[in-house]
Symmetry: C2
Subunit: 377 residues, 2 copies
């Protein structure tokens, strides 16, 4: 169980000095005063102040590639809500764009690549981009945000998973049935493995550059791993997630840099993710957190998992659902509260405030009991 | 294990008399000579002969509501492939349409209701439609198809689940985040329960009418149950699936009418489905069939679960994947081969023929061994 000095250190760090490191502590399953909370896509279209900056920028890509604007929208939700983390405003497709695929983002259309990968020759031409050159705007944004945050909350860097990037790179955009990328996987598995290996190296390099620039935790989004069979998942997604995790710098500024894996629809292979070398697994709302906790058996922290649609409910109901999620994780360290997926575009920001405040308020008891029970009588 | 007389009866039934009842036997976990196979959406756009009839009909709804045309497209795949079942050509949204919601199906747009349910008053106005009146075209199609099939293969009737219909009825069509239907579920659960109860009664009535008209098995599609948390799934979907199953006629023409539940993305609550009173559970490809079989522990047969994208692979690879699915279910009765979801629109029909033939060819050994091992030495 928790040692009292750990608990005291946590409360001192978060309450006394203005340095909020709850997120980092919870990701490493260390004691905290209250359960940390942040929200996937917390910087986004549901915020009027985001829509204003987005409109001024003229395009989504201009927002991503202009460090000052990326910094501004990253910080917006932290001005409104008592969040325990900032996450870099960027897009998982910046890496394939840096590989020369020509990312197009048109309003209401979804992403599209001008030069998708259709043949073995297309894949063979790929090389790992130098982040200091082709993704400098990402690193500049990280540096800027870290400075502005000044310890208010840790900054999470991120990237897509090798498989998830491959789906967009081969399909040329979003897909309904993943016919092209699975076609390549089935008809030419060697080419698919080469693509996944290039992606894994590019992702590791980019995440390590984000860590060097100041990211204090990193998250890998395996958004489309859930479209594979369990066997194909292990061969074409998990294997390259492991490769990425193994290649990451795990210490920076004298502190461990936790790695979070989020795999949508991956409730069935949670155990595999828990042994991938990561520190925490993000779970969606289709998995019960108490079962998930049993299944990962203390190997990793868990992040999640309220249904984002609960934010369409009444404030009372939101608080009830927060309590249910907290109870389902149960006592003890290792829980980061989040939605099970990105916040919906039509969410009322006031509703998100209700959730964030409820997490802190309702979880204080859990952690004070945990601390108290660790004190020798 | 299997008794020899059961095995002999099965082979006689399917080979001798021109009566193919493999599907019905497998759904009841009785012995068969080869694993039966059919394919979700086997009558559909991937077939050029379907596209021709569809074009002549002028609209999808005209195809559904004209029994001769529905019969024709139902039978088309059985002329091409050695399939062990026909499934009524229809749409799950015919029931809400019969309830007065005004179904619109425009090419490339997805379904849309003219009068979606937005308020408690909208829901309170609903009543259960008389299938003999408002859905006569469905029953006429069933009668016509049964006559035309003449025992060549059993006919499966179907409907959507109460929850899945509710998503379309409240959203007014397809949805990305199910905000409206979940909004009603969270804000006004009583109204949602009333809607689900009406749906369950309408679905039972329609399925029973299909059985009386000649459907020999029925299938309930819970396509969108997987968007709920496990707790909400039990309260808002599973409960009403049970209500439907409990209300069904289970015998017709002196024979048991098996009930199949298909719940997309429901790998995590397979046990719940197995205890719902159904005879078989359809599983998608994200669940390993051998694990699924262990988890349902002999309570139900399983239907599935090849990834439809495998049909984009080479014929050799398709045969390999068929073998993998057969092996993953393993020996013994209770497996109906199917894709884990509907066949993709861009599938080459020749590739589907490779799969269907491979299932029969590769599974014969499994069943002759099962039969042999049941013979006393």
């Amino acid at each position: 169980m928790l040692r009292q000095e750990e608990y005291s250190a946590a409360t001192a760090a978060t309450r006394g000095s203005g340095q909020n490191d709850r997120l980092l502590r919870a990701l490493l399953r260390q004691a905290v005063d209250v359960t940390p909370v942040w929200v996937m896509r917390q910087a986004g279209r549901y915020l009027p102040e985001y829509r204003k900056v987005r409109e001024q920028a003229g395009s989504f890509m201009r927002l991503c590639t202009t460090p000052e604007l990326a910094c501004e929208v990253t910080l917006q939700p932290l001005r409104r809500f008592d969040l325990d983390a900032a996450i870099l405003f960027s897009d998982i497709l910046t890496i394939p764009d840096a590989m020369g695929l020509g990312l197009q983002m048109h309003e209401g259309e979804g992403p599209r690549f001008e030069r998708p990968l259709r043949t073995a020759a297309d894949v063979n031409r790929l090389s790992v981009p130098d982040p200091d050159d082709r993704l400098r705007y990402v690193l500049d944004a990280v540096r800027l945000i870290r400075g502005e945050l000044a310890g208010r909350a840790p900054l999470i860097g991120f990237a897509g998973s090798p498989w998830t990037l491959a789906t967009y790179m081969v399909e040329g955009g979003s897909s309904k049935d993943y016919g092209r990328v699975k076609g390549m996987m089935f008809r030419d598995p060697n080419t698919m493995h080469r693509l996944l290996d290039v992606n894994a190296r590019a992702i590791s390099l980019c995440l390590n550059a984000q860590i060097e620039a100041g990211a204090q935790a990193v998250m890998v989004f395996d958004t489309w791993g859930g479209v594979l069979t369990p066997r194909d998942y292990r061969e074409f997604s998990l294997r390259y997630l492991r490769q990425v995790v193994a290649a990451l710098k795990r210490e920076s500024e004298g502190r461990r840099v936790p790695v979070i894996l989020f795999a949508k629809g991956a409730g069935l292979w949670l155990e595999d993710l828990a042994t991938s070398g990561c520190d925490a697994v993000g779970v969606d709302w289709t998995t019960d957190l108490s079962e998930a906790r049993q299944r990962v058996a203390g190997r990793v922290a868990l992040q999640g998992n309220m249904d984002p649609s609960v934010l369409y409910a009444s404030p009372d109901r939101i608080r009830q659902e927060v309590q249910i999620v907290l109870d389902s994780y149960g006592p003890g360290p290792g829980h980061v509260f989040n939605l099970g997926h990105g916040v919906h575009q039509h969410t009322d920001p006031e509703q998100l405030a209700v959730m964030v405040n409820a997490v802190h308020e309702l979880s204080a008891k859990i952690h004070s009991q945990a601390g108290a029970s660790a004190v020798p009588v």
